[in-house]
Symmetry: C2
Subunit: 180 residues, 2 copies
């Protein structure tokens, strides 16, 4: 099939969910990506309609939190409310600690998280790309394997699969294909 009806380009899923923290507010984002290795940069797309956008304009950094699949109900609840109206952390009973170096929170339920200093903000279409320089990393002890990367038998990352669907990986499908 080929179509020039491009308004629904929902073929890129699944994507991990990143919970973005600015000030005392949090927002789940499915549109995010690493940007640069050196310096270590991470990018997230934020609509200017979101309360998080107005906070990012005022603050000098943010946090990026990765949670397991089992926390999807919490993420759906966070995504249902705006920080303009409610104190989400309290409302959703989210355990969080203030970040060390930036204005944001580290979710205690995350298996890994970054603290990012604001590096760039750039408008593309109906979103802003917010690029942060990673200055501090948190991770749960025991989640990484001997290579220093996430162990698929221990962590079940939360993946967003579009239209309120959440899914995770099947550890039995792990395959290693070395580049020559």
């Amino acid at each position: 099939m080929k179509t020039s009806e491009v308004s629904k380009f929902y073929y890129f899923f699944p994507q991990t969910v990143a919970v973005i923290g600015v000030d005392t507010n949090v927002m789940p984002a499915a549109w995010h990506t690493p940007i640069s290795a050196q310096p270590p940069l991470y990018g997230v797309l934020v609509s200017p309609k979101r309360y998080t956008y107005s906070l990012l304009n005022r603050k000098h950094g943010f946090t990026v939190n990765f949670l397991e699949h089992s926390k999807a109900p919490l993420i759906a609840r966070i995504g249902s409310t705006s920080g303009r109206d409610t104190e989400k952390l309290k409302e959703c009973n989210i355990k969080a600690a203030p970040a060390d170096r930036v204005s944001g929170v580290i979710l205690l339920d995350s298996y890994a998280a970054y603290e990012c200093e604001k590096f760039a903000m750039h408008e593309y279409g109906d979103h802003f790309l917010v690029v942060g320089k990673i200055v501090l990393i948190y991770y749960n002890e025991g989640i990484i394997n001997h290579q220093g990367i996430v162990n698929e038998n221990i962590v079940s990352p939360m993946l967003y699969f579009g239209k309120d669907r959440y899914i995770t990986i099947d550890p039995d499908t792990l395959a290693v294909h070395k580049r020559e």
Copy 2:
């Protein structure tokens, strides 16, 4: 654990693999994301060291191809060579058709693909963000469910999990959590 040793921030995995086509060359990328809904924009990170980068500078568009987990050995092989030295499509025996509207190829093994016109290129750290406007979408008939989104029981998207590891989703873990 908390560390300011931030050079290895490998906690964002897994990510779907996107095979980027420019001219007759193809490159697998794990760093990519939707950028904007209206206009429909898709972004991919490309190192200026890559042959694909020099092609993107000269050409006015590119393709984004999504393949299933079973094609991971092919992707590892594509990622092992540079289009500077070889005609990858021929070398790796990749079946492809020229794109309609841009200079690139559509992989016949992909379950979905976009044709993108170059919209912006912007340097951040050691990579360039290349933003494309989606102008044409391809997808295999039968892969989508009644909501028009990818059916987890039919497609096993290829996810890159870092350090030459590939993995896919477990359809049995699909959960729907509606936002209120």
